[in-house]
Symmetry: D2
């Protein structure tokens, strides 16, 4: 194993590379979470978060990981036995659905199967809604960007289908690996609960998660009968009015959040999204240049934040990842669930410059070659062509 | 208001002053939580945590605040309608009981009322257990150190009473403001679930919480019927075997945890406990020197980690705190719940040297004087006497 | 030895306690010192430094300690054999004079002896100047604040004497332990070279030093014949015009400097000076309350940044310091040169809040008692009286 | 200009990319430089520095940049009028010679002219020494690695020539851009003074510099008659015995030094040198792949720490650098002195992983193309070939 030197290349699809100023911000001394200084911070954060979600409504911050925010979205809005429609778009949509089932929601009836290479299918949704004349479906769950596959679902089309059907189901969307990376608009797209985490496009360490909440979701929460304590929106929204929280907040990560939001604001969300698209295009150019296949099958659904690469038959993705980790000190994402060993995932989200992406793709190319995967050497050049001209 | 300069005096009973090396540790770059480096960290942490809880059994780490760990202790071990015995020792025991009620547990029948100036009463427990010949009480909840009152319950005596009664109820103990500050022994005292948080004696920012789990609690968790997903011990313990977690762990706080555990180890737990007792004694000497009253009434139950000070009639504790914050840049704890305005709380836990305590008590003395509270000027001298000779 | 916990009390007269934001600033990644980002930083720094020195002229920044800036002040302005008048005010004035001698300057003829308990004597200066009708004295060296004694010389009176004598000697002033702590005005007081360092009132780690330069000093530098390379002002002033330096600058300390200047600006220089005076008054009140003697004899010359405390006969100051370091983890300044063992010095400069000063004086009081020094216990109370009412 | 995101690529030949643990180390609170904790640090540092220089003799640490250490090497060993032999190997050898001249040393007589594309010429030295039968030449100055050209002089051959001539001149070697990057052995190669700085292979921010000193140099220093104060070895070596310094040391940079030495030790000096050679080879492969010329002409003298690239006629190196900085946020070194505009320099020293080098070379390739420089696209692939197989 080559002795390690220099910064590790963390090119998994999250956690992402935390900017140095964010790391320094979280190293500031912890303050009294009931004092005036902290209350002012809370107010600034709540004001700055809205634009990132594309909402003028409330955003609930949890001192917890994204899994908790999934749970929160469900327990605040639904009641035991409620029917939830979900799409089989990948590993994380499956886990969220499994969680819903474990909470006592009905997730079998309205399950839309899929091949893990496409996003949520608006047409399939239209069919299901057409059948549901009694409006038994209480919520539609969509993972905006499937971290396991690199496929981005077209949420506006999902919304349109709901609207055209005049169906009152809540729209719950997981943006864990898209928020702050891929264009997203909670209000404009009529999303009811947006689930997010700190460790991807928000460029923070893990430990914070979020629910952006529509008026309709808030109304639903008043009638929801799933038990909720830690995840209950009510006390949080109430305490937030005074700049406080009903539990001890994760103070130092909140310092980092303020710095990260400032960084996003300085680059400009539009620029952030364009950069991710450009990096994704360069990565796909590399994959195709190597003669390999991108997992995502629909040109409209390529993820801006990660690219899953299909291995040729007979080649193990985890072997490639291991070689790359040991020889080049770079972490890539493994294939998850049914994709284990068959794909590896290149994360290109969060703070990322062109040259770090070039170094990343250089490492992938060398790793593929070292692993004996038959690839053409044209990948890197094709990527640079995109970066240079894009 | 005096312009601020120098480090803020954070003398609330938690979050506590995070040591500089811990702050620097949490500023290290986030790594792949599924990679070998992180797995090794997890294993080191799990090994180092045991001694701090006084257990050789498992400790579950949550990327969440202490409130979540309360919820975890209940939902992993109990079932709807289970009777839970709790003591009215202060604000936090009341909140925990309220949570249990909201979860569908029965908390009225076995509630032991109290005056917020004493700990959990072993004699009252003995009476209740004697009545419960059918062993309907499934759990006894004790807050080891009441952060709202500065009273430390005598857990070993609670254990003895349970043993003498031959009662099988689980013993659930909240050590949020005592772990790493006040002598505590999960295994030796036969505790079934110990609840803890990162931001007090463990000297970390908020954002991590813990459940130490006995074999008996583990067994109970297999039959428990309260719904649990995020808080479920099972997947955590399973994943921990491989050095991983079923959710994205709060990586950077875990870096800090390793550093904090090292600091505790270097000072030596026995020395840490003795230091807290000595600082608590000095603080009580100051309070009495001023002619004021310590809230805690039982000499056996004075907290090592904080001291609640009763105000003379007609004087508002919050006014004193406000003056001290504005003039001397020190945060003290407010009176909570029924004690609002009647007490203020001096935190003397976590990393704390003699001179910072002396500065703290100097600020309290000056603040009381500035607020017009009739105090004798003998407090500080009495405290120094303890520090000098202790 | 008590196990250490909490932050060390660094109460020497410098280096001082570096504010946390400054420490975090110096941890930012080093940039290209020839690139546009660094040039912009240099320009901001040079603009912000002037007001701290009270000058609209140039300030030269050295990547070196204060000793180097002493040397720079001499070699840039003087020529071999030049007569330099200096005052025996303490250890540092003696060292500076020794350096001047080693450089080939004439330092015997115009040496004004002193007792290390007073500042530079304007009357003695008037006499000497009156004798020097040929204007053979080329420079007058004054240490504004003698770090070894806690005596502040009255520079405006020195200036007045020079003016009244119509004497053209350069006025070189060492402000190493006064800049940013004690009122100082390079332009208004007609100082020609002001020597300063980073590690005292500027609240930085050691490693930077400064020369503020008058037009007259600049003119003198063109005729000066002492050899100078690293310390030569010329190339620095030339390169500074482009925002660069003729040597590799100490980039990360400069990051800290920007942050420190911001902190000074936020508090306001007037407030900074007043705070130091108030802390000095509180410290003297403590010393007198203990029944001990302050080294400085002239009420007009008490230092705002440190206080030297005379030990009673038969008591060793270093023993007291050792006890305080081992028992209370506080560093105090030793007696230097002829004062070794006879005084200890309490630094109260740089970032310092009232409660840290109270903790400091508490530690001194306890240390004196533990060392068996006969002191009255009234010191701390007297200091608090000043802090509370001041 | 592309909005910046991600870490800047600092690929100048120093300052280099400071490792994160070093940055965090320098953010630790400053301590008393006269206390026992600091003395212990000093002793550890002095012990750990020796192996990096390849010496068992003393190493003097200056709180100053490398220019100062140049001055120190001369003023400690020589006297006015002493003849100094130097080689014209590039910009820095010229500056050092210029400094020697300004100090009153005789640098004309024994100047060996050169073309800035070769190192110090052992044969030319042999000739000069043969002529100097009176041993008038007192010192031979060699820049081990010319930072302006990327040429490494063969110091062992210089030594051999001196030995074969039986000439007693001191051998003074500048290793500012080679120490900790390119094999170097102070004792074994019979060097008398080795000059080094913190900001290159030692992976620190600028602000520290060094003189490693042979017995012969120490002896010479006792007779040297150039004035020396700040740079005087004597007081430093004397104070070092007690773990202290005669000036205020740059405490926080010394914290970083300890961490950096640990990092070097962990990788192993042999591995460090091999890595630099491998990265240099990959870089030259890229340059040649592009169809460009490496400045260094002698295969034996290619630098391990930087590569200077000659531009084709009619193309401006600074334009390329500007495009690369603006488009790809990477800093490269400019051509210096007579090479201005004609070369750019790629730094590949200090902490540097393969993928960061690949990103660096990607940026250079794209920048050359964007600047319209006629290059073949084969450079990057050739470099990866070296990295993959090396």
């Amino acid at each position: 194993m080559t002795p390690r030197t220099g910064r590790h290349f963390l090119q998994i699809p999250g956690p992402t590379n935390v900017p140095d100023p964010v790391l320094r911000a979280i190293a500031a001394p912890t303050v009294d979470h009931r004092g005036p200084e902290f209350a002012a911070l809370t107010r600034r954060l709540l004001a700055a978060l809205g634009p990132v979600f594309g909402t003028s409504g409330p955003v609930v911050i949890y001192p917890a990981s994204g899994t908790g925010a999934w749970e929160a979205a469900l327990v605040n809005t639904l009641s035991p036995g409620d029917r939830v429609l979900s799409f089989e778009t990948g590993h994380f949509s499956a886990l969220w659905r499994e969680m819903a089932g474990a909470l006592g929601l009905e997730t079998e009836t309205d399950f839309v199967a899929g091949d893990w290479r496409h996003g949520a299918d608006p047409d399939a949704l239209a069919e299901r809604l057409a059948d549901d004349t009694g409006h038994e479906i209480k919520a539609v769950c969509v993972v905006h960007n499937e971290t396991s596959t690199g496929v981005t679902s077209r949420v506006p089309e999902i919304r349109r289908v709901l609207d055209e059907a005049g169906h009152p189901a809540l729209l719950l969307v997981d943006t864990i690996s898209s928020l702050g990376s891929i264009d997203y608009r909670h209000d404009e797209w009529g999303v009811d609960v947006t689930v997010a985490g700190s460790q991807k496009g928000l460029m923070l360490p893990p430990g914070l998660s979020f629910n952006a909440v529509s008026d309709k979701a808030l109304a639903a929460s008043r009638n929801s009968r799933l038990p909720k304590l830690f995840w209950d929106w009510g006390p949080v929204l109430e305490a937030n009015k005074q700049g406080s929280f009903p539990y001890t907040p994760a103070t130092n990560l909140l310092y980092g959040l303020e710095e990260a939001l400032l960084i996003l604001q300085q680059e400009g969300l539009e620029n952030v999204f364009a950069r991710h698209q450009r990096h994704a295009a360069a990565t796909r150019a590399a994959v195709r240049g190597w003669g390999l296949e991108v997992l995502c099958r629909d040109e409209r659904e390529h993820s801006g934040s990660l690219t899953a690469v299909l291995m040729p038959e007979g080649h193990d993705a985890d072997k490639v990842r291991k070689i790359i980790l040991e020889r080049f000190d770079m972490s890539l994402g493994a294939g998850l669930g049914r994709l284990a060993g068959r794909v590896f995932r290149i994360g290109h989200l969060g703070q990322l410059g062109d040259l770090t992406l070039a170094g990343t793709l250089s490492g992938v190319q060398m790793g593929l070659e070292l692993a004996g995967v038959p690839v053409r050497p044209d990948g890197l050049g094709a990527a640079l062509e995109v970066l240079r001209t894009g």
